[in-house]
Symmetry: C2
Subunit: 319 residues, 2 copies
């Protein structure tokens, strides 16, 4: 009997990664093509399915395809659409409809943070958990929420935008057009902004004063903090404080068993986890204190996107 | 064949109300006894079940009891407990265990805001909705959250504490021991505090300056606002602004179809609904704008508690 695998596709602004993933999260094959974000969606899927067909042919005696899961920015699970993502020149596109032109396999799409949450539930550290949140700390802050064992899509398919809860209505400009969204503070970009604010507002000496804003990475800040750079440490503390405060609000809504941090800024490890947990505990209502775990994702970073996307299919089979 | 009814019990600090409720939310009989909050739980249930038995005897040829639903402060659905409610001298009590001493009927307990949410779904304006939030604006701010057609209890049974999300970490003292919780602003008590802050900080003339804090009610403030009292109108605007801002955060988490406002402050009608909706829209992420209804509860206020409690049983039968 052939072994079942699901296709996982992660559509990014630069690369589109795909892979064949089995039931236990083993990646049989993974590859990528350029997204060519300035062009329309059709050309991407034309090239993509050619690659997938070519790559699968070599495996088709051993494996059987069972479905196609896709993670993409601004994706709507209910409608199968991708709606005007900031980094793709697509407008509103019905991705599942396009895919049906290439394959009759069952297919499902959601945004990358939701895919990360399902991936964590199916293949990662949230196995067996019924109530948890995954926070992705990348350029922005994405989130996927699981309640009673199901991903929360809400009435319109767009639930789970914790990055756009408001930390300070008079705060930093957000890419969404509003002010003070959590992701303007708690994300890889957010902590860079904080470093530059601290450079401007304090006299703390710091090696980060030698790096331009456009060159500065979250890893530079973590490296400096690990060398005892006070300004960098202060930036982590400030980031963690706002993250902890807003995660306490998420806990008040949902009382999750755990919150997972994932993505670039989460790689800073204790620098972000230790103060974020401390502030979250301080800001939580008494009944929730010392109950909610703050954990790193157990998905391997380099393959998480494909695992998450493929887990959409494995999750639907489970239900 | 006898008509099926569920018992709904609402335990309050002063009165405990109970009633027999049929499948369509008709209340066959409703009555109440004093809670005697300074005494233990056992005495309440001893008296309560004597009353229930006496009252039901008269109806027992026509009706058949199918279960007992209870709304109570600090109630935990999973454990069947009530845990140290501020207005009852009970400590931690397993209410469902006590009830099993009096009745072998199926029983369930949750807090009053969760019961209001299930009541709205079974008997009220949320019929057929799968994703919505009920906010009770009374002495505090309670909330019940429904996702994918199920009440959100979270990992520990205590989810849905939107009243204790933090609006301002350096803000007003909250009864929970922290500062700046939403309920210190958006509740019947919260708007009273706002009136008194405005009396202290502004020179606006207001008839509310003639009422002591302890005498002042949310209705007084609504009456003054309806007569054009500027300070009262300002208090409603301030309350609505903070409520709208924090509800926008709830929408970012859950993308509900509707948010229902219920309880004392919601009775102010347009005074609270109109500005709260305006601010909520202003603070919401673009993708959610003009999608989320802000509605009054359709449960009749005087009977909502008993309807909500009984709906726990009708809801379990539905599943």
């Amino acid at each position: 009997m052939k072994k079942k695998v699901a296709i996982g596709i992660d559509i990014g602004g630069t690369n589109t990664v795909f892979g064949f993933v089995d039931e236990v999260g083993q990646i049989i094959h993974e590859s990528s093509i350029l997204t060519q974000a300035d062009q329309d969606a059709d050309q991407l899927f034309r090239r993509l399915f050619k690659e997938i067909d070519d790559d699968f042919e070599k495996n088709s005696t051993t494996y059987e395809l069972i479905g196609i899961g896709i993670g993409a920015p601004n994706a709507n699970y209910y409608k199968g659409t991708v709606e005007s993502p900031p980094n793709l020149n697509w407008g509103v596109v019905n991705v599942l409809e396009i895919i049906r032109g290439y394959s009759s396999l069952p297919s499902a799409i959601t945004n990358d943070a939701n895919a990360a949450a399902i991936g964590e539930m199916i293949f990662g550290a949230a196995k067996g958990m019924k109530n948890f949140i995954v926070i992705t700390l990348g350029t922005g802050l994405g989130s996927g929420i699981v309640v009673n064992g199901e991903l929360v899509y809400g009435a319109d398919g767009f639930a789970g935008e914790i990055g756009h809860t408001i930390s300070d209505p008079n705060g930093r400009d957000c890419g969404c057009g509003r002010k003070g969204c959590l992701e303007t503070y708690a994300s890889a970009s957010g902590i860079r902004r904080t470093v530059y604010e601290l450079i401007g507002t304090t006299n703390m000496s710091s090696e980060l004063r030698n790096i331009s804003y456009n060159q500065l990475t979250a890893k530079d800040i973590a490296d400096a903090a690990n060398c005892g750079d006070k300004l960098a440490l202060e930036a982590f503390d400030y980031t963690a404080k706002i993250l902890g405060l807003k995660l306490a609000d998420s806990v008040a809504h949902l009382s999750p068993e755990a919150i997972f941090l994932f993505g670039g800024l989460a790689l800073a490890g204790d620098l972000i986890f230790v103060p974020a947990k401390r502030y979250m505990e301080a800001y939580m209502l008494n009944i929730f204190k010392n109950k909610v775990k703050l954990l790193p994702s157990a998905l391997p970073g380099a393959h998480a996107a494909v695992l998450g996307a493929s887990s959409l299919i494995w999750n639907e089979l489970k239900n």
